[in-house]
Amino acid sequence: MGAIRVEHLFHAYDDGGREVRAVDDVSFDVEQNAFYTLLGPSGCGKTTTLRCIAGLEEPTSGEIELDGVAVVSARGIVPTNKRPIGMVFQDYAVWPHMTVAENVAFPLKVAGDLSGREIQAKVMDALALMGMEQFVQRRATQLSGGQQQRLSLARALVRDPKVLLLDEPLSNLDAKLREQMRAELRQLQRRIKVTTVFVTHDQVEALSMSTTIAVMNQGRIVQEGSPREIYLQPNSRFVASFVGATNFVTGVVDAYDDDTRSAYLSTPAGPLCCRTEHAPEVGSAVTVAIRPEALEIGYEHPGRENLLEGRVQVGLFVGDAVDYRVRVGDQVFRVTGPQRSRFHRKDAVVLHVPADECVVIPDDPEVPAGVQATVQDQGAR
């Protein structure tokens, strides 16, 4: 049984007579000790979902179970302060009138079942865990942003919660600190083994930290999977474009080879061979997603398959790579070239993409209407 079970969660409110569903039938399970991420653009319902788990919002309907205990069900709602959670807020929410130690001690003090000495020991442990021992007697307001972040994490962990809820905890930190905290947070979570739900709009955070990612859009989970699955096998145009940069090519299926699981398409950019598990119907139109880093750029290429001929429009040197825009036919491709490559504007180049890197998107609403039904069929298979 999972540590968190969310079932058919709805959160609707009335906006001038119109019903708006911030969360629209969301269900998921989180395994014990997993790092589960809700990823999506602002307004997709991820924060509302998290706040429903915390009890800071009341869902319109649905069920939530934390550690085997129903906290939201038809029988009623367990108030936030009775749930076995620890939460870190985007703006830290560190109490300015308390010292660092008092902030961390708060959850233990209000619980009221530990002696002063035990509380002090646990507070020191929690602060040591975050490398904050030297700030014990500081006032919370005298800390930097990063330190406040650690403090609020220590506070969330001090009473050994069953579930750790993180609401965009890194988004207020500067870029360097964010990268550092990313690694630290993940290591910490592994070490202390606490089931974590993490909300973010940052795909890099989601990909690097999670065991499972749920991509949300318009109140629904549109894809759930491991970071690799989400990135390498996006199931929709939305997921492909939200999680990382993507080039989209639409084409018509000419043939499908069952042995190699390869689909042969003709596209405006040229013929493409794509590896795909779901056999698309011959003659139908499909969308293919190609990551910029999957494209190899060169003046020539030894292969014969999946070659796109184009001209360089611009090359942006970004340090660890060169970000090229290459015009192929009517379409401009984004290509990540090697750091030392030097293709110039108007250079005629050849782009190559391995068949494995061409992801056929099974369920794409932007595919012409006539083929919609076939795609739907495959989805249901």
Binding site: F10, A12, D25, A54, G55, L56, E58, P59, T60, S61, G62, V72, S73, A74, R75, G76, I77, P79, T80, N81, K82, R83, I85, G86, M87, F89, Q90, D91, Y92, A93, V94, W95, P96, H97, F106, P107, K109, V110, A111, S152, R155, A156, R159, L165, R220, I221, V222, Q223, E224, G225, E229, I230, Q233, N235, E277, H278, P362, D363, G379, A380
Partner: protein
């Protein structure tokens, strides 16, 4: 399905998916109760007196107030009031008096605020402190001291002016006239106006002005096109706020106007309900009250709209680096003379004359021989008796009780306004604002009438003044607490909740301590305002609930100049110190 591929999402449910409602739990049940009680209390405090005011104005009360049915309904009061040509001259006087004092107050305040905030005026901090210090002096005391300076018979300035010409008799200046009333009232408005304007001037993000400078605008263009338009909402807001203050002011019209036969609406109300001889006519008084209420409510309708709109001007950024100061150059000396001349005139001179009068046995002709008469006998007499001690105790009780009651109510109301998602919060917002629109004389009158009728035995005691005072200052308190509570991020509360704290623990450990400075600040402001207030204690006064301000007025009215001066000096000392401490501890944030 092969491993490594993701199952497509299950088809989305049709839009009409039934959503069985989760059973609601009452969130913060105790808070809802407290909020509800506060709303009821305010409705009682505000609506009760208002209702009485309306009812009284429609009754024939020439034979006294009728407290049991049948009520003698009648329009006679309105016929009397609006058929009397005196009413129209009172209205005209009120308008001239208000417009004039606002002009004085704003001209002085805008000039000084701009000089202090944006130029290289020398000793800016001293100017600031000395301009704000008189906020501790009740207008009553200011009026008394100007009467000592300028009364036509033996006013100090008149005596000095007559000296070179050897002239005799009264004059040449007469403080008991409309122009001088305007000047004195104007000066008493300056400290608060000045504070309001400096605060908003500081709030204007300097980078907005710097952007204009970088766009090639000169100094006068910036003031005209950027600074003033940005300040407009704040200026209009302050203007309307102070308009209500001045139309309803009783102190200056009472001390200076009545003696000179200049009558304004507030004095008409006072005189009708506290006649020198005969029965008080509450009906006529109430009718004047209705009219005054209308006069002060109309601009407040605009005030709310302006305050609402001013949020579009995102001028308050919290960044407080000072914009480049403007060099005054050859205007420096005139500016210094203006500021310090004004301080001498509005603060130093009145205080000195009070001090002088307090050491004189009686108000005689000014001159060198008066030096021989210097005596401290006045202090012994005025401060020694039981009357003074009673007044002191009453004043203290009044200040503490009104401040405590007002702030508790204000806190609860602000809580509803800021945090609740109830659809009644807009109503509560208005409700909390209404008492500001109620002129002190109207609150005084209607509270008086209400407790003549209600079987609650507080008539004639200090508690009736406490109730009226708390009513009067709920708006002031709510302004402070709403801002204070809004500053506390909801996250701090939610963090406590997710840490396992229940409602009571959140209040005890998080909200209470965080709100303490706001509460203290508001408490002190209401305390100070209450002990300075003359209107309500005077309207609701009896022999048993004399406070310092009414004691001063009684002495003065009785002709005991020395006693009034001694008490004024004592009270001004207390209040100026208290006001300065208040600003020291809280900054000017409270305004």
């Amino acid at each position: 399905m092969a491993a490594g591929t993701q199952a497509p999402p299950s088809p989305p449910p049709p839009a009409s998916t039934p959503m069985p409602r989760v059973r609601r739990r009452r969130r913060f049940g105790s808070r809802t109760v407290i909020g509800g009680l506060a709303i009821l209390a305010v409705i009682y405090l505000v609506a009760g007196p208002l209702l009485m005011l309306v009812l009284t104005s429609f009754q024939d009360t020439s034979l006294g107030l009728v407290i049991r049915p049948p009520f003698p309904w009648s329009l006679q009061n309105y016929v009397d009031v609006f058929g009397d040509s005196g009413t129209y001259s009172a209205i005209l006087s009120t308008l001239i008096f208000s417009a004039g004092s606002l002009l004085v107050a704003f001209a002085v305040s805008i000039t000084c605020a701009w000089l202090v905030e944006r130029t290289d005026l020398p000793a800016r901090n001293a100017v600031f402190v000395l301009l704000v210090a008189p906020s501790g002096i009740p207008a009553l005391i200011l009026a008394i001291s100007w009467s000592l300076l300028l009364n036509p018979n033996n006013g100090l300035i008149n005596t000095l002016l007559r000296l070179p010409f050897g002239a005799e008799g009264p004059g040449p200046l007469d403080v008991y006239s409309l122009p001088w009333m305007i000047l004195v009232q104007g000066m008493s408005l300056v400290p608060m106006t000045f504070l309001l304007i400096t605060a908003s001037l500081r709030g204007v993000n300097a980078s907005l002005e710097e952007a204009a400078r970088a766009s090639g605008s000169g100094f006068s263009t910036i003031v005209r096109r950027i600074t003033l338009p940005l300040l407009r909402p704040a200026l209009i807001g302050a203007l309307i706020y102070q308009f209500v203050t001045v139309v309803t002011a009783l102190d200056v019209p009472l001390v200076l106007g009545l003696s000179g036969g200049v009558s304004v609406l507030s004095t008409e109300i006072y005189v009708a309900s506290n006649p020198v001889g005969g029965l008080p006519n509450y009906g006529v008084s109430g009718t004047y009250g209705m009219f005054l209420l209308a006069v002060s409510l109309i601009p407040l309708l605009f005030y709310n709209r302006i305050i609402g709109r001013s949020q579009d001007y995102a001028t308050i950024t919290g960044k407080t680096f000072r914009p480049k100061t403007i060099a005054l150059k050859r205007w420096k000396i005139p500016a210094v003379l203006f500021c310090w001349g004004y301080i001498a005139l509005s603060f130093v001179l009145p205080m000195l004359v009070l001090l002088w009068a307090s050491f004189q046995p009686y108000l005689g002709v000014w001159g060198l021989d008066a030096l021989d008469r210097l005596t401290t006998a006045g202090y012994g007499e005025a401060l020694g008796g039981a009357q003074f001690l009673d007044a002191l105790r009453n004043t203290f009780v009044l200040g503490v009780a009104a401040a405590l009651g007002g702030m508790v109510l204000a806190m609860a109301l602000s809580w509803v306004i800021v945090r609740s998602r109830s659809r009644y919060r807009a109503l509560v917002d208005i409700l909390a604002f209404v008492p500001h629109a109620l002129p002190g004389v109207v609150i005084g009158l209607s509270t008086l009438v209400l407790y003549l009728i209600l079987p609650i035995p507080i008539y004639g005691t200090i508690w009736i003044i406490v109730v009226a005072m708390a009513t009067q200052y709920i708006s002031l308190g709510t302004r402070l607490t709403t801002a204070g509570i809004a500053q506390i991020q909801v996250g701090l509360e939610e963090a406590a909740e997710t840490s396992g704290a229940g409602g009571r623990q959140i209040w005890q450990r998080v909200l209470g301590p965080l709100l303490r400075p706001v509460f203290l600040n508001g408490f002190l402001m209401i305390f100070l305002a209450s002990i300075q207030n003359l209107t309500l204690p005077l309207m609701l006064g009896s022999n048993d609930n004399v406070v310092l301000s009414t004691l001063i007025w009684r002495r003065w009215d009785y002709g005991d100049v020395t006693g009034a001066a001694v008490l004024s000096v004592t009270m001004a000392t207390i209040t100026v110190i208290a006001a300065t401490l208040l600003r020291r501890t809280t900054g000017t944030r409270g305004l």
